[in-house]
Amino acid sequence: MADAPKHNAEDYLRMYRQMVRIRTFEDNANQLYLSAKMPGLTHMYSGEEAVAVGICEALRTTDKITSTHRGHGHCVAKGAEFKEMFCELLGKEEGYCRGKGGSMHIADQSNGNLGANAIVGGSMGIATGAAFTAKLLGKDDVTVCFFGDGATAQGLWYEVMNMAALWKLPVIYACENNGYSEYTKTDEIAAGSIMARAEAFGIESHQVDGQDVLAVNALTEKLVERARKGEGPFFMELMTYRYHGHHVGDINREYYRSKDEEKDWKENRDPIIRFRSWLVAEGIASEEEVEAMNAEIKDDAKAAVDYALSAKYPDQSEVDMHVFTDVTHALA
């Protein structure tokens, strides 16, 4: 683990808790898919928890994030509740997006999450625009733009990085490099170095172990503070790994990724196991306390899943609501 910045035990325990909440959310989502209770498909964040948590723990509620198709982790880390998330996943009325968005658009907007996005790279403009707002209105909010290694191929990123750098916008581009873009290794779709792309615009860039929540958090805290003072933008490349397939239906994946490789990441670099050992070794929590926390989170998730399963669907009259802000029913 990286050198711990000055945090108290409470902060560390919250970080642990948030990582376990993400993993638990995903385990339940996967179960819902496998038991055919979830409509459509979903992309699991399991394995990448330290990235979302390390970053979001360095943010305030008023700071903004933009998320991706693999967005449950960002959503939890930025402060969302299980109940509304599972309701959204199942298309229920009480979901964060009233069932209109589903897994790929899930977000707790009240915590500064501007949305998950089903278009790869689709949020890069939005994040940069949010940073533009902060600058224009004289706020010290910072925006973190999450995206994958595959998304670095999108031209939009180069356009907005250029402007963000020219105008010193308070945005942090956070590339979650999990080694794969769908069913293809990153090396096969990204020429040269990813860091160098941001550096070419004069953007200060850092690479960090995305399985080390303390390292991610320490770096983000520094960059966020500087971005608030107008020293942005910044780029972070977070080296991480997704445990499941590209989406829940991607089961037979040995043609592009070996079981040994998956096993190695899960057994030797798991962000939760690593942080848990550190907590115990530092005397911040005992094994029993950690187990009790895990069990409580499991129960919370189960209660939320049960609630969501029996919650009601939106009324059909909602179908033409929210098309426009100033028209209650667009087709009335």
Partner: protein, 331 residues
Amino acid sequence: MREITLSQAVNEALAEEMRRDETVFIIGEDVAEAGTPFKVLSGLVEEFGTSRVVDTPIAEPGFMGIAVGAAMTGTRPVVDLMFGDFIYLIMDQLCNQAAKTHYMSGGKLNVPLVLRTNLGATRRSAAQHSQSLHALVAHIPGLKVALPSSAYEAKGLMKTAIRDDNPVVIFEDKLMYQDKAPVPEEEYLIPFGEAKVLREGSDITLIGTSSMVQVCQKAAEALEAEGIFAEVIDPRTIVPLDEATLLASAKKTSRVIVVDEGHQSFGVTGEIASRINEKAFYHLDAPVLRMGAMDVPVPFSPALEDITVPTPEGVVENARRLVRGEMIHAA
């Protein structure tokens, strides 16, 4: 006759054309080893290699642009766009470049490329992976647009598209990839601009495209049980559009419903309805009716998504009302 899936039909069409013409190549995301997320292209990279089945980064405008340039200089690219919704990303390359090059060069340059992509909702994929956007490209002069409604059409139209010297956009229905239909072993092509009459009838004409052909067929069966005989027509290509067949049927039955999965407003249904109004007005006993997808972004929740698309029941209900004359004064 043997039956194969729509997915196999597309695969066969591509393989046959690639064997026939070595300038044909496929380009897109995860098209090679993965054979696309829908597995439509499985096996092609093994036969044709990675130089002709080309995996790209997630850079749609980039590979679309490369395909346009390659097409202008002696090859026949088949661009694979994973979801029809991503067409917004490549609009400049498709509509400003590919569509206009032949015209702007006074006929000196050609862009013989195929863009294969898909349409269709009700897969619980939410607003950015469920759209049917064929009307957008049909609006642009210079682009041909094919909408296969079965494995048979998918194969024949794809082969024609690849041999066409113009840019052609083919939208497959992603819910139909596993649907089987009789497809001959022998080679065949389906000419563009030739509608297919799937069922003859005398009381009303149901014009359906792509995913909506099945909807019209089911509606026609239900109507027949009530003594209403519906003619079902699949235009197969909307650019070019086989007006003659559509008009002849409208004149024969005097009532028409046009069903298409694109949004109803400013769409394919309105275009076809208006051509019939203009050219068969005095033969009609009722206004030509449009049935498209609801004018809302496609919602995720199954409780909402299912009511946004035309259904056989909805078509039946409207057909009954037209036949009874209930809609004559609808205004």
